[in-house]
Symmetry: C2
Subunit: 162 residues, 2 copies
DNA sequence: GGTCATTTAGTTGTGTGCAATTGAATTGTG
DNA sequence: CACAATTCAATTGCACACAACTAAATGACC
């Protein structure tokens, strides 16, 4: 229990706890608020937020195996498999075992899925408008968040005590 | 379908779609990366990230009815009820119908729940360390995110077409 | 005092997110 | 060729998040 670091005063640690409450709550709330705005806007397209992310990747990258899709989105098959099933049930994508490598499943846009892109074109404008930020501010925030994600990911791997 | 707004060129809209893919993915990824780091660090305490948020509020504010807890965290009973049940099963909180107003349920820290705060004192330091940011940078990011959340929430209420 | 709207928790159903496991297919190695 | 290790998708189990609904209690109004 007596750590190697010189223990800070209890009052100082309590302050950190208070700060932590503020920070982690802020990020958590921002993420959910964003999700909420997307939910409203995407309802017209019949998509959830994560489903929209998948469609964005497919519109941009074309057909992809589940593995590649997961790398783009940092999601594993545990999340993607049921999500893709729903997209398939909605008629937006088609899943097919690759003939070259039968472990792999190719995700292809259907005609309907490709056509949905037209309706999605207005989504970003509405989102940006909802944030109240201009494009430069958004880019700056994105850079900040990417930096944070990168550091956090490497920190999670190390899993050190401090 | 011919909107009142002067339709931007398809190429420009496609660029926005590309930017949107970058932005919403960044926030989504940052949120999950944060969640992941908390998951690792909180495992020692036997708490999930949202459970930790609840405990932080209780440590700071003392006993609260579910309603107040929900206001602090912006969560409704659909999320809090099962979460609080799990915290109660873990022996960290106690739930009791208020005698003044029997609709209300008071959430109280148990002795064990209050004692857990001691072990939680080191969490923020480890989190901040994992972010690689200094305190000022974190405060700045928090301010940014709070601003974003505020704007998004009001935008979600209006639900306008743009 | 009795009726109706409101407040408050809880429940149900859907959709992620992630760890852990399973099972099939492929690759590497002797 | 045989056999072990690896890769990939799917499944299972658990824990949010949120919309929609239920049920009980309270308050407001006539």
């Amino acid at each position: 229990m007596s750590a190697t670091t010189p223990t800070p005063s209890p009052a100082a640690e309590a302050e950190w706890l208070h700060l932590d409450r503020q920070i982690c709550f802020s990020l958590h709330a921002a993420s959910r608020a964003f999700n909420g705005v997307y939910r409203v806007i995407l309802k017209d397209l019949g998509l959830t937020y994560p489903q929209y992310l998948v469609m964005l990747v497919l519109w941009e990258q074309g057909d992809l195996p589940v593995k590649k899709l997961g790398e783009h989105l940092r999601l594993d098959s545990g999340t993607l498999s049921p999500l893709l099933k729903r997209l398939e049930a909605a008629g937006l994508v088609h899943r097919e075992r690759s003939t070259r490598d039968e472990r792999s499943v190719e995700v292809r846009l259907t005609e309907q899925g490709a056509a949905l892109r037209e309706q999605a074109l207005e989504v970003p404008r509405r989102i940006v408008s909802a944030t109240g930020f201009d494009v430069d501010e958004i880019r700056a925030l994105k850079a900040r968040l990417d930096q944070l994600t990168g550091t956090l990911d490497s920190a999670a791997l190390e899993d050190g005590s401090c």
